[in-house]
């Protein structure tokens, strides 16, 4: 196995943040998550949260359920990139690295399936 420089430029596909690196200005262990309602879902007073990287999509879902006062028989769907529902055990860290940009991870939420 040839020993190659692992951090060679271009190896990683993360989109470089514009301007100042927002990750540096923020606690390294946290990610800024923006929660946006869609398909008529209740609007949150606070849309922006700093979430620990080790939290999961399932954790955000439970958090959201409490915030928008969901009834036990109501469902809440979280969407990444307005395209897919992440696995409940997917970490915020992975989601941010793959689908975040400009230091933020945008998640859309709704009570009925909005996409797919």
């Amino acid at each position: 196995v040839p020993d190659r420089k692992m951090s060679s430029p271009g190896l990683m596909a993360t989109s470089p943040p514009q301007g100042d690196d927002p990750k540096e200005s923020l606690d390294e262990e946290k990610v800024t998550v923006l929660l946006r309602p869609t398909a008529g879902a209740p609007i949150l007073k606070n849309k922006k949260y700093n979430v620990s990287r080790d939290k999961t999509a399932g954790w955000i879902n439970s958090f959201l359920r409490k915030r928008i006062k969901c009834l036990p028989d109501e469902q809440v769907f979280l969407y990444v990139s307005q395209a897919f529902v992440p696995s409940p055990d997917q970490t915020v860290s992975n989601l941010y690295e793959c689908f975040g940009s400009d230091g933020k991870l945008v998640l859309h939420y709704c009570k009925t399936q909005a996409w797919g």
Binding site: V1, A13, F84, S87, C98
Partner: protein, 269 residues
């Protein structure tokens, strides 16, 4: 485009012999039920192939106390949302088959497992994962261009173990001729941590293929072999240890699970 059909078939036909036994504490009948043996497809998911296990054991558990069925091996609850092959590579031992899995109908571990309300839940999470993979590869363009009928064919191909039906749709998701993968959809699994999924391109800026060894050195440096080639870790893909010099693009096209993710299990031996 994946062309090595024989490799794809071999991967698809991967099976794991499993011996299911009911947790002895959950027995409510006098007679202990016989263990139940099944040959499970690596590609599938536990809730899709364990109806017979449920039927076999359910009658020996008292109905009032019965909860959702769940599985455990060696004190590790098995997460149904990951493919069976991944669960075996991560928790099982290829030298000890059949795989002895314990069946539970009580004390559902809410902190460790998510509930599976039914087959629709498996289908929707599976299709969502395929979309996620397509998003990483093609910005979701291939899945979006497909008809609902093709999505259905794709799912039924997996569910009913039909290679041709599945690959008729999957080859479009794996096609690279017009549009190379933007990044490789992969997940690295370890027993004691959440899985790792961070963007990695198939090639470097110099157009050199990125190899499995590159990924392991970057993400799990302690699992990479030393210069003398020694390692206490096994790097498993579909139950085998592929040469670390294998390009990720090749592995992605030929050794991914039906969810289009390349699942890599790192296990300490």
């Amino acid at each position: 485009m994946a062309e090595d059909t024989e490799v794809l078939r071999e991967v698809w036909n991967g099976r794991i012999p499993v011996c299911f036994r009911l947790d002895s504490h959950e027995l409510s009948s006098i007679e202990e039920p016989e263990p139940y043996f099944l040959l499970l497809p690596r590609m599938s998911y536990l809730p899709l192939v364990t109806d017979k296990v449920k039927l076999h054991f359910q009658k020996t558990v008292s109905q009032e106390e019965g909860d959702e069925m769940w599985f455990e091996y060696d004190d590790q609850p098995l997460k149904w949302q990951h493919p069976i092959g991944v669960l075996f590579d991560l928790h099982g031992n290829p030298d000890q088959v059949p795989w002895n899995v314990t069946v539970h109908f009580k004390r559902f571990p809410e902190d460790e497992l998510i509930r599976c309300p039914g087959e629709e839940a498996v289908e929707s999470l599976f299709m969502s994962t395929v979309k996620e993979a397509d998003f990483l590869k093609h910005r979701g363009a291939v899945m979006n261009a497909m008809h609902a009928k093709e999505h259905r064919q794709f799912w039924l191909g997996l569910k009913n173990d039909r290679f041709d039906q599945f690959w008729e749709v999957n080859r479009r998701l794996m096609a690279v001729s017009s549009d190379p993968f933007r990044s490789i959809p992969y997940r690295i699994h370890q027993t004691d941590k959440p899985f790792i999924q961070e963007p990695v391109k198939p090639t470097t800026t110099e157009d050199e293929p990125i190899l499995l060894s590159d990924l392991i050195r970057e993400k799990i440096p302690h699992a990479a072999p030393t210069e003398s080639g020694e390692s206490t870790y096994q790097i498993l893909v579909q139950g085998i240890q592929p040469p670390l010099t294998t390009p990720l693009q090749y592995l992605s096209e030929h050794f991914s699970h039906p969810d289009n993710f390349l699942h890599i299990a790192i296990v300490c031996r």
